[in-house]
């Protein structure tokens, strides 16, 4: 199981209602359903939508940049966004919408400012290393249009009046309480649990 999924499963209580934005083939939704958590996904890729349907999962096909606008307010206990925020056209607009449709928001992403990334940028002098999702990605065709650091995201959350409940260093499965964040220099993957108060 993906390490970020493990944290999410521990974090969300039973009988919650969850929206997984960018749910791919529904792996996380299946795990949540097994824990008696009712989950729905949003996914752009139709083949992945079909594989969700085959598993009996609820999935909405569409572009998350516009699709989430159609969800009714206060519908979900948790909105989850893993490995997606950097590919969203306007992360601030999306988070503002999620604030309205869900009570809690969980956002996970790879820290673009970690030392190894910064060093490889310094050495190569190319943004490809910062923006890469897969090997075929170059700076001009990457989905990662908004690389961000842990510090960057913390600032955005606070700017949007979102409260940081906990953060996690995903690879070390370490939890940070009371708005503290993992090292911006060394943490590879981070998970934010934020809420709208």
């Amino acid at each position: 199981m993906r390490s970020d999924y493990k944290i999410i499963l521990d974090l969300i209580p039973e009988n919650s209602k969850v929206l997984d934005i960018g749910c791919s083939d529904g792996e996380l939704i299946s795990l949540l359903e097994n824990k008696n958590i009712s989950a729905q996904g949003v996914e752009l890729n139709q083949e992945k939508v079909i594989s969700c349907l085959e598993k009996g999962l609820d999935v909405i096909h569409g572009d998350i940049n516009v699709m989430v606008e159609d969800f009714p307010y206060n519908q979900f206990d948790y909105c989850i966004l893993t490995q997606t925020i950097q590919a969203v056209q306007k992360p601030d607009v999306l988070l503002n919408t999620l604030k309205k449709i869900g009570k809690n928001i969980i956002v996970g992403f790879n820290n673009s400012a970690r030392l190894s990334k910064v060093l490889s940028f310094l050495v190569s002098g190319s943004f490809d290393s910062l923006l890469k999702k897969s090997n075929s990605d170059q700076w001009y065709n990457t989905d990662y249009i908004h690389p961000c650091s842990i510090k960057d995201f913390k600032k955005l959350a606070l700017d949007l009046d979102l409260r940081i409940i906990n953060t996690f260093d995903v690879n070390n499965q370490k939890k940070f309480l009371n708005g503290k964040i993992p090292s911006n220099l060394f943490c590879r993957e981070v998970l934010f649990h934020i809420a709208n108060d």
Binding site: Q46, L53, G56, V59, H61, F71
Partner: protein, 373 residues
Amino acid sequence: MRKITDNSEYPGYLLKCQEELLLDSGKIISDFQVAYQTYGKLNSNKNNAILICHALTGDQFPAEESPITKKKGWWDLMVGPNRPIDTNKYFVICSNVLGGCVGTTGPNDINPKTNKIYGPDFPTITIRDMVRVQKILIDELGISKLLSVIGGSMGAMQVLQWAATYPESLKSIISIAGSLKHSAQNIAFDEAGRQSIMLDPNWDNGRYPEKNKKPENGLSVARMIAHITYLSEKAFQNKFGRNLQEKKDLSFGFGIDFQVESYLRYQGKSFVDRFDANSYLYMTRAMDYFDVSSEIQNNKNKIIQNGIRFLVLSFTSDWLFPTKESKEIVSLLNSVGSNVSFAEVVSDRGHDSFLLDEPQFFKVCDGFLKGIK
């Protein structure tokens, strides 16, 4: 009293009901019948039954060869052995709607009270009335829970009505190219079609059946108008462009110059042979009156308790029942907290895409049905 017999006029069966049916209009139909066809076998647990709801001009013959057109059934690509609605696995039921003209009681039948053809005396019916009659049929077949109810266009309206009115009687629905309510534009198109029929002198205030005539011109123009709405700008362009019909030069007259004109006229003419004008009036009216939003809201507890799974489907180029309207269905279903999935299929063939060979569309339906437990 209810009795099922073979249908002597068409393949399939007839459910004859000697009873009164109270309609939404407050009027009553006494003694009615339902013409239906089935495919596949009902299993011993009676839990593999799928009801298919046909669209405005459809009939009870989605699969195999149609006895009416002598061509493949209108949903032959969707329903049959190894098709998405696999008749090797599922027991498929499809009935002609109330007010129709392929065997189920409609305006061309005899009114038992007067022993004359109903004609314009047939009561105005609603989508809910159609579904009421389908529910009677499902009860008579001894099926307490349908695995799914599936339909496109006017069929999608019936499907949503089923979920709203009889949520305890089904496990899932697939609404294809549908809406919660008929839009103003769609009512406008329906009205243009109805006016075309009613302004034909042969319509004769709806009394034409007893006088042995038919408002063929009116019905044909109604069909031509409607047919334009079933396609897309691109579909017309790809199919015909500005190509001329069997000529090299414009005629400088009002005959058929363009291929698209010839095509439309053919669509109108061939429709007249297989459809009844009064039925067309009644069914378009039923669509106009359709608005299922509040009933879904009022019945939300039952919908959730029964764990109904919804799949809502739309096509990118459909401008008659555009994606926006399918998304409104999804929003409503989400707001009542039901289990809903949605997919938009890319197709440039307009509203009619649901009747055509659209492999992605079939894959989505197939996947959804496989996921129903």
